[in-house]
Amino acid sequence: MIWQIDVIILVMVIIIAIGVISIKNLLSVGILFGAYSFMMCLLWAIMGAVDVAFTEASVGAGVSTVFLIAAIFRTSRGSKD
């Protein structure tokens, strides 16, 4: 584990998480949540959990984003908060 990369990506994960819950357009929220999952996947790959990392990259960043965007296209795209 290289702790400098770990700290940088941890800070990026937190910033993206704050962005995800504060953006009003739900389609942007879905895409940004994919970015969040991918940053989390990088964090786990750095910590040596490669099996968890590629499961998260395929399932968390891939399938979750597809689910979210499909649900957003079937409902409304705007949010009040």
Partner: protein, 140 residues
């Protein structure tokens, strides 16, 4: 004082986990939009998974694949590899989190078809109005 500072800095992964958990709980409790609540739940779950992976990792260790012996003792040294047990547990948790995401999103779509909105306060007002109308009809 130096001891406390070392304690705070050396556990930075756990501080990140705590911040992410607080962001998730804040989104679940205070956001009105149902999609935002679901995403807050997912952030919470990934923070818990990050906590478990942080427990398993250690300094100067490689990934848990057996490819070399220790150069001094010519034996397998467990300190050279990260602990793979939390990884296996969290592999299950990732699959469960996708399943809960799918169920929650399908419920949100059904709620949208019923009420025409995803905002929780508007849905509550509509349910209250429906109940009032029903009670008036019952009294008649």
């Amino acid at each position: 004082m130096d001891n406390y500072l070392f304690f705070i800095v050396s556990k930075f992964n756990y501080w990140g986990v705590m911040i992410l958990i607080m962001i998730g709980i804040y989104a679940i409790i205070s956001k009105q939009n149902l999609i935002k609540k679901i995403i807050g739940m997912n952030i919470f779950q990934t923070a818990i998974i990050l906590f478990y992976i942080s427990i398993g990792s250690k300094k100067n260790a490689s990934i848990p694949i057996l490819h070399h012996l220790n150069e001094h003792t010519q034996k397998i040294n467990p300190d050279d590899f990260v602990n793979p047990l939390p990884h296996v547990l969290m592999l299950t948790a990732i699959v469960v989190s996708v399943a809960t995401l799918g169920v929650a999103l399908s419920l949100a779509i059904k709620i949208y078809q019923q009420f025409g909105t995803l905002e929780e306060n508007i849905i509550n007002n509509k349910i209250a109005a429906d109940n009032n109308r029903q009670s008036v009809i019952d009294r008649l």
